[in-house]
Symmetry: none
Subunit: 223 residues, 4 copies
């Protein structure tokens, strides 16, 4: 979440920027363009204009437009994965804490930005007719779902909840995606705080002894 998502401004890039920096710059421009113009109206010329470069350059760094889009999806997918992996790694080793960390990661300002949300939504819209998009994200998604399920099941056991852990995990996963979608399609964009509260409202209903609508309950002295 450092340099990769905040490349220098195009005009300040040294003309002989490294290949990777140019690629990143074009990928960022692609994300912005998809958000602004939509997937269907994203043209190489517009991406190039956004980047302040000539459109001919894109075909130098990416063989085809399709490749640019695939690489862009791979980029935000990897960025998303890095985000929640890091959140889990730094979270305390307890199911509730891990779940809390995973949810909060979904709304931090690396991945929960208007342009990222818009790009994701555009890709979702095309995914159905482009198996390659699903394949690309499938492994990540399955791993995410698996970890969420493990955490949920562990939490059910720990808390003695009556809910099915797998079902609960699915509810949480789908709700998180739904919130992202709602940000784009709804007329009312709300803050990350409200979005998170929505997620935790459901989690608190599922796991009331561990969560409140504000998130993980911090045990008091009387635990």
């Amino acid at each position: 979440m450092d340099k990769t998502v905040q490349p220098k401004k195009p005009e300040t890039l040294p003309r002989k920027a490294s290949r990777d920096a140019r690629r990143l710059q074009l990928i960022e421009s692609t994300i912005l363009t998809i958000g602004r113009c939509g997937y269907a109206k994203t043209t190489l010329t517009e991406v190039a204009n956004t980047a302040g470069l000539s459109h001919g350059l894109i075909n130098f760094h990416f063989k085809t437009k399709e490749q640019l889009l695939v690489d862009t999806l791979l980029f935000i997918a990897q960025e998303y994965r890095d985000n929640w992996v890091k959140a889990i790694e730094t979270a305390p080793d307890a199911p509730a804490a891990r779940l809390d960390a995973m949810i909060r990661a979904d709304f931090n300002d690396v991945v929960f930005t208007p342009d990222r949300l818009a790009a994701w939504c555009a890709f979702w819209g095309e995914a159905q007719s482009r198996p390659i998009y699903q394949e690309m994200c499938g492994a990540n998604d399955r791993e995410y779902a698996r970890i969420l399920e493990e955490t949920s099941v562990a939490l059910v056991n720990e808390g003695g909840y009556g809910v099915d852990g797998i079902d609960a995990a699915r509810v949480i996963r789908i709700l998180l995606e739904g919130i992202w979608l709602d940000q784009i399609t709804g007329n009312n964009r709300y803050s990350a705080e409200v979005a998170m509260r929505t997620a935790f409202t459901a989690v608190a209903a599922l796991f009331p002894r561990h969560f409140s609508p504000d998130g993980l309950r911090v045990p008091g002295p009387a635990g």
Copy 2:
């Protein structure tokens, strides 16, 4: 779920079909095409081929491609609205029963079909960059959200739940959308039953005295 969504097969339509029947036929073909090819690759020629008609006819019944897409969105939006309105009207006059009806309506075989889901998802992907799409569905969406909130608040009062009714309504609304999205983007399409169970799992967690993961609790003799 009868004649409105299943017009006669193109080839069985009399050559001189009425204007409305042809329009409906072309809209259905558009929905199918969007589902099969995605929004970006939906061409008039493909829509015409799907309908078994010439592409020139589309411009005869719809002035432009844009108009065809707009009318298609209006059609499925109206269809969706008719579906839940009818469900509410025929449901018993109690908050829990109404909520149960609204949720079940989301998964009946009029609206919860692969082609409808795919079309919705495609439109969502474009909605961000096309304010007209949001405007078209905005009124319906707001009414749906309002009714869901009223029902949720009434249920909270009736059941003495600790959850915030507005928050609960938002969770349910977003979860329902999320399930639809998950059907399209996920590699694993599950049945309407599993989808509904996912929804009711959350609802049961929010309103446990009225709902179980299988839906509305039917009060036994001892209440």
Copy 3:
């Protein structure tokens, strides 16, 4: 210049109008459409709308669009010819009187109308690339030119003018066409009176003893 140019209003035509009346009605609509939309933008649908008929009907009365245009040109060409032939026939049998009649005929309200002028101008614009148009009018034009030349030569002889009769005829013929063109292309449409005065200004310069800028000189008692 009677019924042929003033068919009854379309809506008042009996539904079972004779073929010829329908043809005339469509030809008049074609003239109007060419004037309003230009040759390049004249479509059968627009012609039909102007006539208040369905466009399918045109192909019933005229095999093709090309045929409609050809017949329209033939119609106004014949109308134009009838006009000057009649003028000559009713003029006194003297070169000056005949010339005066021919010139005045060019500006009477049968042929010198905005829609006729516009149609002529449109056909002229296409004539260069459509030899058929030139061929159609060629005979008429040559006959008109021949008569004008004969008249001019006779007048030169009669008046003892120094000008070449053939040259003078060409000047007059071209000037008359130029005035029509000027009506269409110029920003300033002037009246038939001004137009005629322009023509007679030139004729008076060529044949001063017979003509003044107001037309044929009427010999006084002292002749």
Copy 4:
């Protein structure tokens, strides 16, 4: 009449011709195509073929076909204006000499070429239904008319002619346009010499002491 109207042949233009040269080349091809095919049948593909280039290039240099046609008209209008302005500037400072120069300019081989005449005639045919065409040339036309009138009035005063100077100017202006039109629509194309003699025949009739059918009279030793 040198480089501006005779760009290098398409096939000899270096592939990376400057933008202006390409634009000029395409405008020339447009003029040729209008002359050969007529306005209504002038397609971008035909223009491109005439230029030996691909049709896609036209939309690269001219945003739309309409823009190409507008720019083409602007080009020949400017070319025409440059031609008579230059003629006036180099003519002796006397009304008769100026008039002589203006008339001769109309028939020199920069502007009096078959393709130019055809293009003008095509534009005239469309001008009536396209106000933009009239607007574009209006200023030039009015200036030309004004100068012609001033010259004519001065000549009337100088020569003591009985004709109205304004009327005479109109006759000349319209006759010049008529001659151009006659070149296109007539079956008989005559040479620039015959055309000019036609014009001077009228001018000589109007201003006999200054002009003969061959043009400006050169005063002999006895005046």
